[in-house]
């Protein structure tokens, strides 16, 4: 069954779109990533024009994130206070990011920058997360029968010496708001440049930089992704008119259902396993993008609507 997308001006199989939405929804519920780094390339692959794919996936991420956050809220795994602080930084960051993006576009080569950003950040984040969670998994395996170390040591570093301390009860933290705002801001900049929610950077940043418990991290990350991607969707709809409602609706039908399955799947798995899976996924996408940059392309020429 085909559906004609009014803004993208192509006709695509409905079940293909439902499937893409579903897969990304599962991942989004499991890992707390919006799935933008996955859905946009998948949409390119089925023939949706890039501009429409980027804008519409932002809208789709809003839907699956709302669905997943509600599930997390019931489980009390969302740190609303931390989420709000991160969001403040995030919005400042994305405004800055859009300024940088437009400047680079005027200089040309923005595609290359976006691709390089993807490869560098996905590669670094994926590799770090993979190594770390592999170690954590080995630690728990080495001592069968004994209780695994309850908590990795808290880094009592300079982060705890900063002023403006706030108690984040859900995360069990008492730290300054400056590091979360900085984290939110840098993720916001990258998110605007790369056209994604930024969950795949936010999640490890919360775990490793802010020492938040993994269970809380996912819900909190999703919470702030909702607002960042909603902002992006509006911006795309108003300036470029590239949000395709028909495409978004089909994707999110699959996505919201997938997100529910993902959340219950994620709650049944151990944190280390969850992180290893996410790391493998991130590395796979990074590898694909790196190959595109390194291997000679089949078609040297590329069309773009002027």
């Amino acid at each position: 069954m085909q559906v004609y997308l009014p803004i993208a001006e192509v006709s695509v199989n409905v079940f293909l779109l439902l499937g893409i939405g579903g897969i990304v929804g599962v991942l989004s519920g499991m890992f707390g990533v919006g799935g933008g780094f996955l859905i946009t390339p998948l949409l390119f692959f089925v023939g949706i024009p890039p501009a429409v794919a980027v804008a519409t996936s932002a809208n789709q991420i809003v839907a699956s994130s709302v669905s997943a956050v509600l599930a997390h809220l019931r489980r009390r795994t969302v740190d609303l206070r931390m989420g709000t602080v991160l969001l403040l930084g995030g919005l400042m960051g994305s405004a800055l990011g859009i300024v940088i993006f437009n400047y680079l576009r005027s200089q040309g080569q923005v595609d290359l920058l976006v691709n390089l950003c993807y490869v560098i950040f996905l590669g670094t984040v994926g590799a770090l997360m993979f190594i770390e969670s592999l170690r954590a998994l080995q630690r728990t395996r080495r001592k069968p029968g004994t209780v695994a170390p309850v908590k990795p040591r808290r880094q009592r570093s300079w982060i705890y010496a900063l002023p403006l301390k706030v108690r984040f009860r859900t995360s069990g933290l008492y730290i300054s708001v400056i590091p979360p705002i900085l984290v939110g801001m840098s993720v916001g900049v990258l998110a605007a440049i790369m056209g994604v929610g930024g969950g795949f950077i936010m999640v490890p940043a919360m775990i490793y930089l802010l020492n938040m418990p993994t269970k809380v991290v996912i819900g909190t990350s999703l919470f702030q992704i909702i607002f960042v991607t909603a902002f992006t969707t509006l911006l795309h709809a108003v300036t470029n008119q590239t949000v395709d409602l028909m495409l978004a609706l089909t994707l999110l039908l699959g996505g919201v259902v997938g997100a529910q399955f993902g959340t219950s799947l994620g709650s049944r798995m151990r944190a280390e396993q969850l992180r290893i899976l996410l790391a493998v996924l991130v590395l796979a996408v990074c590898g694909k993008l790196a190959l595109d940059l390194l291997l000679p392309p089949e078609e040297l020429y590329e069309l773009a609507e002027a």
Partner: protein, 253 residues
Amino acid sequence: MRGLLALLVTLLAAPLAAKEDIVLGLSQNRVRITADFDGSEILIFGAVKRESPIIEPPLDVIVTLAGPSTPVTIHKKDRRLGIWVNAETVDIDAAPSFYAVASSGPTGEILRQTEDLRHSITVPRAIRSVGAASMTQNPAAYTEALIRIRENGGVYQSLEEAVELDQQTLFRTSISLPSNLTEGAYDTRVFLLREGHVVSRFDTVIDVRKVGLERWLFVLSREQPLAYGLLSLSLAIFAGWGASALFRAIRSA
């Protein structure tokens, strides 16, 4: 003297005999893009109306169907510092979003270069790229790439010997429109040729339009982008909430 007179008569008679008009029929003169639009096939048929007997040499027919023209930017990739980047960019002034040429014989044989230039009949002639020469040393390569990519995508079609011609009078062909069609007025032209010269030409338009929901969404996104964006967001939030509520209901049941 008699021979000369006969020659004069034939010379005078020739243009009169060549007066041939096209009577055209279309299976549909408008294409409606609905939500389940999956391409369409247009049957173009017609007859040659003439007052005098058929003259030699034999007739040929070319039918073209062209979508609205837009500017196109073409990037060419090259290897820089080990990675493939867009190294050169060329702007094509205008290229049709869809173009099909159906002919009763090989266009290289039945159509003269000069006539092709005058009427812009074949695919390369339908693309206008005056400015390209100032942007690259090899503008032809870019036009070829544009045609190659769009031919692979099924939006440029060279259908040689796809026009059936009966008794030098009746002709018909069918052109399939792909599912990724843009809106607009599609110019339909029919040419009658003799020895490579265009002897008659008929122009009409096929209207391709989005209808119903497709039309409404498209117009809203262009005329009220803010409302459209807010609508997209509220649908997204509602769908997210709905799925969450539904699943909770299923689980508690």
